[in-house]
Point group: C2
Chain length 259, copies 2
């Protein structure tokens, strides 16, 4: 019995079906099993866990070859995952991989990320799931180091499994393979995006804003965070949980007297 | 020195600026301080933590009276919060309240919710934040019980504060005030949405899907969850954390041999 023949792997992303990162990921996973890609037709960066309820969803098969079928969808990354689970795949997949995202999803970026939302959606549905991102927004970025580490990490997930309700957030620094120092298992960095809205005036004299900004690391000295790992040439892995409850705070709030 | 004059409270929602729940919430908080509302012009349900990067953001003041200013925005709930913090408010607000949402945001719904994303965005930016929802999608729902409990809980937050990086997810059952059994501080229920895509065919013969479905509670017997509380006539409060790291799994994955 070989694992390879049995594995059904769902691939998605948020940079859309034509992204270099998606093709790269397909090359990495193709030797591992039967691959089904369901990805947005368009770029869906910043879409987070959004679902489409106002317009109907459409799906189109765009490619079919031995052990690889590719579908495009007009929805968000999470819509793609839901459609895959419910309408496209013959059974629950053994693994969901989202990426390779063009841009970091470390620290608080996880909240805005369509890639990580897709991984979380897999995880909510009890599928071992991982999101993989390269810390570069360049659509033509060199993905060879990310491919190398994606393969390593995906094989480890297949070997060890993942605990229920936990998925992985993997980020790879924008350096060549030789310069990568290794893998660090770390925690999500505390911090936030400092927005710098670009204010402009349209030809009718109305003001408008473009959202821009940069990440503020609230704990630059900490050495166990994903931002530190990436800044120090490591691939970061943060295990992410679906249960957002703060149990510590539960105990605290129970002492408030609601009367 | 009165607290009332000093408090600056930011209000937003995802059902849009005309929603009954928003007006209801404004009535609740108006006696507590200076209120600024920044809400989407349109309904943004299911938008989660989405941000708008493809189109410019526009903001319009739609109402101004003593201690209340209302702005509409073409963006998502999270865009509204970012714009408020960076372009609209004179200083960091003392409190952010999102809601009153028309529909439950208990259990896994938190991931899809624009209301809770707005509260999380406040929390990421270190503002005490709470999202409030009524378990009814009826846009004309009776909000009097929700108003009563919103006032009680908001006053407790003002009195006690909230720990850093924690916000509250409040849900109110769809029953009259007299029937509510009280408040339960609880944890997020384990479960997922069972999608039932409605498959249709358009006049050109092409298939399309409408996303629909119902929540599957994976632990109906547990008595400490938000779903149980709501089913048993309690208002549920779940403290939610911004740090998604599973520390337990970190230790486990460190034992994988990445070689």
């Amino acid at each position: 019995m070989t694992k390879k023949r049995e594995l059904l792997i769902l691939i998605t992303n948020d940079d859309g079906i034509k992204a270099k990162g998606l093709k790269s990921l397909v090359n990495v996973v193709k030797p591992l099993g039967k691959i089904v890609v369901v990805s947005p037709f368009e770029v869906h960066s910043g879409m987070s866990h959004a679902i489409t309820v106002k317009v109907p969803l459409r799906v189109k098969k765009t490619r079919e070859e031995h052990n690889l079928t590719v579908y495009g969808c007009n929805g968000t990354p999470v819509d793609c995952v839901k459609l895959a689970f419910n309408q496209i795949l013959p059974r629950k997949p053994d693994l969901l991989v989202a990426g390779i995202n063009h841009g970091s999803n470390a620290a608080a970026s996880i909240f805005y990320s369509g890639t990580m939302a897709a991984a979380l959606e897999g995880c909510i549905n009890e599928i071992p799931s991982v999101g993989i991102s390269l810390v570069s927004h360049n659509p033509d970025a060199d993905l060879s180091a990310t491919e190398f580490y994606s393969k390593l990490i995906i094989e480890k997930i297949i070997e060890n499994g993942l605990p229920k309700s936990i998925c992985l957030n993997v980020n790879v620094p924008k350096i060549s393979l030789e310069k990568i120092a290794g893998i660090k298992v770390c925690r999500q960095t505390k911090g936030y995006w400092q927005e710098e809205f670009e204010k402009r005036t349209d030809p009718q004299g109305n003001k408008y804003f473009w959202l821009t900004g940069k990440f503020h690391n609230s704990e630059p000295e900490a050495h166990d965070t994903d931002e530190w790992a990436l800044d120090n040439n490591y691939v970061s892995i943060v295990p992410i949980q679906v249960d957002l409850t703060s149990y510590h705070t539960m105990r605290e709030i129970k002492n408030w007297n609601f009367t």
